[in-house]
């Protein structure tokens, strides 16, 4: 909890703006892998993050997220235990995955792309994540899906390097609901400095 608060404070401070805060109950980050071509969805239930984004000025947007890897679950105890173990997320040594944006740009009407380093299990790769944003009452809802290669993050070591059984590509899906502060999804409203 302390760590969460610290992460939030640090994130808020680094943006230097009064961004909205994440509503964890309405937000979701899931990873869909394929084992023997069967889609298997796992959910991360604990994550924190900050987004400062104005669709009319996408280039100035910023985002930062921290995910507790131990919160990953597909709903099967045997597989969840394995996923937390050394071969997969190794949650003891790498309790958190992180994403920090370095650039945001528009990618078509209502569509944007955020680029930045994604660190999982101590491995950092730059990813570009397409997303949409829409206003839902006072909240801004960010949604997107992007592929990552699990082996690029050392996820699935040893016998699990075999991609015939568990495919290398994993689809990461997110729905992030940001509430409070300035409703960032409404174009024309500027973020206060």
């Amino acid at each position: 909890m302390k760590r969460c608060i610290t992460a939030l404070l640090m994130a808020a401070a680094s943006f230097g703006v009064a961004g909205q805060t994440l509503d964890p109950a309405k937000s979701a980050i899931t990873a869909v892998s394929r084992q023997m071509n069967v889609p298997v969805e796992g959910k991360f239930t604990k994550f924190t993050g900050q987004i400062a984004f104005d669709p009319s000025k996408p280039d100035a947007g910023k985002a930062e997220f921290t995910i507790d890897t131990a919160s990953f679950s597909i709903g099967n105890a045997e597989i969840d235990d394995e996923a937390k173990g050394k071969n997969w997320f190794d949650v003891k040594n790498f309790p958190q995955a992180r994403f920090m944006s370095t650039a945001v740009k528009a990618a078509g009407p209502g569509r944007f792309e955020v680029t930045g380093p994604l660190t999982i299990k101590g491995k950092t790769n730059t990813v570009t994540i397409p997303f949409t944003v829409k206003a839902d009452g006072g909240a801004a809802v960010y949604e997107g899906v992007f592929p990552i290669k699990r082996l690029a993050f050392n996820i699935g070591e040893g016998v699990w390097k075999d991609t015939d059984t568990v495919a290398d590509e994993v689809q990461v899906r997110f729905r992030l609901v940001m509430t409070g502060g300035k409703p960032a999804a409404v174009p024309g409203k500027k973020q206060s400095p």
Partner: protein
């Protein structure tokens, strides 16, 4: 229809399904105790693919059986054996449908979809439910044990007819020496 044997199609389906069921059954028994590994996941998928195949063949087989009567039993066979044979056959026809179906339902309830040969996703008949999955697992196991027991009895009976009664019953289902198939 005075043919003394099952049709070639019926004989082919019988032995093909016997091999598939024996294979699926042994994979099923061995996979559950494996530690989580790619091998285990492969076995689970193969087991499911075999099960779907058995299910499809069972439907075809039952349709064939309903439209192609079984050859007569040896005249020397006592009534109780005829009744026992009819009952065990009926149970096996039911179980070759029920066993794969229970596995499919169990898989659905466990939240793991079945993708036939890794290509054709089957609809999930149930939504994920841990309690239900546990009960369906027991049902799947129980139905399999029942099927295995009846198959064993069926085999022992066939051997007894062949070597003790010497009434030629086994020839009805034994491959080879093809006769004209009734239209």
């Amino acid at each position: 229809m005075s043919a003394s044997r099952y049709t070639t199609t019926a004989i082919g389906l019988h032995w093909l399904m016997f091999l598939l069921i024996a294979w699926g059954f042994s994979i099923g028994l061995s996979m559950v105790d494996l530690p989580l590994s790619p091998t285990k996941l492969k076995y689970f998928s193969w087991h499911k693919w075999i099960g779907v195949t058995v299910f499809l063949l069972a439907i075809a087989r039952i349709a064939w059986r309903l439209t192609h009567p079984a050859p007569p039993l040896p005249a020397t066979m006592p009534v109780w054996q005829r009744k026992a044979a009819a009952l065990s056959h009926l149970l096996m026809y039911g179980l070759i449908v029920a066993v794969p179906l229970s596995g499919w339902l169990y898989s659905s309830a466990a939240g793991v979809p079945t993708v036939y040969f890794g290509l054709v996703p089957l609809p999930d008949l149930l939504s994920p439910d841990k309690g239900l999955a546990g009960r369906l697992k027991s049902v799947h196991y129980l139905l399999n044990t029942t099927l295995a027991a009846i198959v064993l009895l069926h085999g022992v009976a066939a051997i007894k007819h062949q070597f003790v009664d010497k009434d030629g019953l086994l020839a009805r289902m034994w491959p080879g020496r093809a006769q004209k198939e009734p239209a």
